[in-house]
């Protein structure tokens, strides 16, 4: 049957186009401002297409030590966090996917309970502080290493694999670690890919734990630095002690918006890969036993 467009279709398409435009326009504007000389954007004589193109903002940021340090910190935190989260979540979820394991129900209950009750911000802070993690990357990485939700989703994936698989391997004399490493993990590539991407996004976007746990601003990842860079321009917002006086002095709208763009760039780069998996990943969460 051939699709025939009716007025109904037209209304739907127009409404979706308007909504999509509302999502896209801010990006175009941010890009345009970052490539324009500050004078142009302050005079507001363009919207999404710069009148004069300049790379000043980018060449400034890519030479500013404070900014580069924060990018380096973000990369380290993201790498540490992703590897650790994958390791902790996969191993625990795999063990809990084994129905024959005594104590499994208690462990599941212990994990599930953290979904509906938690100590809260201050008790968490005190634990991190008492462990001596303040000012260390671990303070950002360790408390976020896993979550009940991640465990449940990965576990339900492992449970969907046929049991006969590891039983066959066991008959052949393979050890349990060997089974996990050479049989289960290769079959779990989709879920591992999904969570690798989710963890990367999560740690790259991490902001609050850096603010409360990292007093030493030379350890700051990009998000808290970006917050300071953009907050300064909302001039009547309480002026915080700027991390870097020369950076603060050079903050034109082009530099600020270039920083916003650079901070979201890794996300935009992995987004096509994310998209391939996320619908599956998001739906896995709703699978129950």
């Amino acid at each position: 049957m051939k699709l025939k467009a009716t007025w109904f279709d037209t209304i739907i398409v127009v409404m979706i186009c308007l909504i999509s435009l509302l999502v896209i326009l801010p990006f175009l504007y941010i890009i345009a401002v970052s490539f324009s000389p500050p004078g142009d954007s302050m005079a507001g004589n363009f919207f999404i297409w710069p009148k004069h193109w300049t790379l000043d903002a980018y060449s400034y940021l890519l030479n500013a030590n404070t900014f580069l340090t924060s990018v380096k910190n973000s990369v380290i935190i993201t790498a540490m966090g992703t590897v650790l989260s994958l390791f902790v979540s996969i191993t625990l979820a795999y063990a809990l996917s084994k129905k024959f394991l005594p104590g499994r129900r208690i462990m599941l209950l212990v994990i599930f309970f953290t979904m509906i009750f938690h100590g809260g911000m201050i008790p968490n802070y005190l634990v991190v502080k008492n462990l001596g993690l303040i000012d260390s990357y671990w303070a950002v990485v360790l408390p976020a290493a896993s979550s009940a939700f991640n465990i449940m989703v990965i576990r339900s994936f492992f449970q969907s694999l046929p049991e006969s698989l590891d039983e066959a391997a066991r008959i052949d004399g393979a050890g349990e670690f060997r089974i996990l490493y050479s049989i289960v993990l290769p079959l779990s590539k989709p879920i591992i890919a999904t969570f690798t991407l989710f963890f990367m996004v999560q740690f790259w976007n991490e902001f609050f734990s850096a603010v409360i746990y990292l007093n030493d601003t030379s350890r700051w990842p990009i998000q808290p630095l970006l917050r300071q860079m953009v907050a300064i321009s909302a001039s009547n917002i309480s002026a915080e002690a700027a991390v870097d006086a020369s950076l603060a002095a050079n903050l034109g709208p082009n530099v600020q918006n270039a920083a916003i763009l650079l901070a979201m760039l890794p996300i935009v780069i992995v987004y096509p890969f994310l998209q391939k998996y996320f619908a599956k990943g998001a739906m896995l969460g709703s699978i129950k036993e």
Binding site: Y29, H118, E167, A234, K288
Partner: protein
């Protein structure tokens, strides 16, 4: 025979406990040990005496908290933001799902999904930065307000604009992503129902009303209850970034109050008291929501 293949003795089981150990250790350290910190709500914490030796004060901290006007302000601000999200953000998500579901051109549907899902993955700091570029004192909106109407608005530093902006941010960031769960439910509706309705002469609006909406009723009810269950939680990252001394009357929510009292004034005991009240209230709400879901004949959240 089957049974024999499954590990049963400890020498067969220990690898699984070893695999579980790091994760269990993580949950104990970063979720359960913090719970023990809640006893500070019943003590007057003194950094010199430490957690164990600080004196007990019974329910004094709770009395102090419920006795102040702060409590009612925090409750009102927190619940109002949740309520606005419930009546604006939530229906918008459903509407967007219905719109996407009605698109018959597959390519167009996929492209628009790609676009509206993207903001979900941006950090709140990036969203905050974009907000400032648009709504800040020298942002593009104030520029045009000045040019066309000779006026300006203090979007970021006023009580009136805080809530509209926060709701708008939530919609911009997450409404697209929020459609995924509805679209999955919509995909489960039997297409024969639509064909039958068409044969009977139903218009597409009638089909939406009589087939589509009933088809996702269960999902809507569950998500609605989940939202009600989490009404005590604010999107703390978002609030933390958007708050400032000039909109604190409306932006001060439980989590923010805990942050100010605990990590800026270092009054741990009082901050933990407030946090504990919030955690316990949330727990009761979530359990209530789950109970309600089961009463309504849905499967329940857990």
């Amino acid at each position: 025979m089957q049974r024999a293949l499954r590990p049963k003795r400890f020498h067969q089981l220990w690898p699984f406990y070893l695999l579980a150990a790091p994760g269990i250790l993580y949950f104990l350290t970063f979720h359960y040990i913090p719970m023990t910190g809640l006893i500070l709500a019943f003590k007057e914490y003194s950094p010199f005496k430490g957690m164990m030796d600080s004196p007990w004060v019974g329910l004094d901290n709770f009395r102090q908290f419920f006795g102040t006007s702060d409590f009612y302000m925090l409750l009102k601000n927190t619940l109002l933001i949740s309520l606005l999200n419930l009546i604006i953000y939530f229906p918008f998500t459903i509407l967007l799902s219905l719109l996407l579901n009605e698109v018959r051109l597959k390519v167009f549907k996929r492209v628009s999904q790609t676009i509206v899902y993207l903001p979900h993955f941006l950090s709140w700091v990036v969203i905050y930065g974009i907000t400032i570029s648009f709504f800040g004192p020298s942002g593009v909106i104030n520029h045009y307000l000045g040019q066309w109407f000779d006026g300006s608005a203090n979007f970021l530093v006023s009580n009136e604009w805080f809530r509209p902006l926060v709701i708008f941010q939530s919609i911009w960031k997450d409404a697209g992503w929020g459609t995924i769960i509805f679209l999955a439910a919509l995909a489960g509706i039997n297409p024969e129902q639509y064909e039958a309705a068409k044969v009977d002469g139903a218009s597409r609006l009638q089909s939406i009303w009589h087939i589509t909406l009933p088809g996702i009723k269960g999902t809507i009810v569950i998500l609605l209850l989940l939202r009600l269950g989490s009404s005590m939680d604010s999107n703390f990252m978002q609030i933390f970034l958007m708050t400032n001394s000039l909109n604190l009357d409306v932006s001060n929510v439980f989590d923010l109050f805990v942050y100010h009292v605990g990590l800026e004034q270092f009054n741990y005991s009082f901050a933990i008291t407030v946090g504990m009240f919030k955690s316990v209230a949330s727990l009761i709400l979530v359990l209530g929501a789950n109970y309600a879901a089961k009463l309504l004949g849905e499967e329940g959240i857990f």
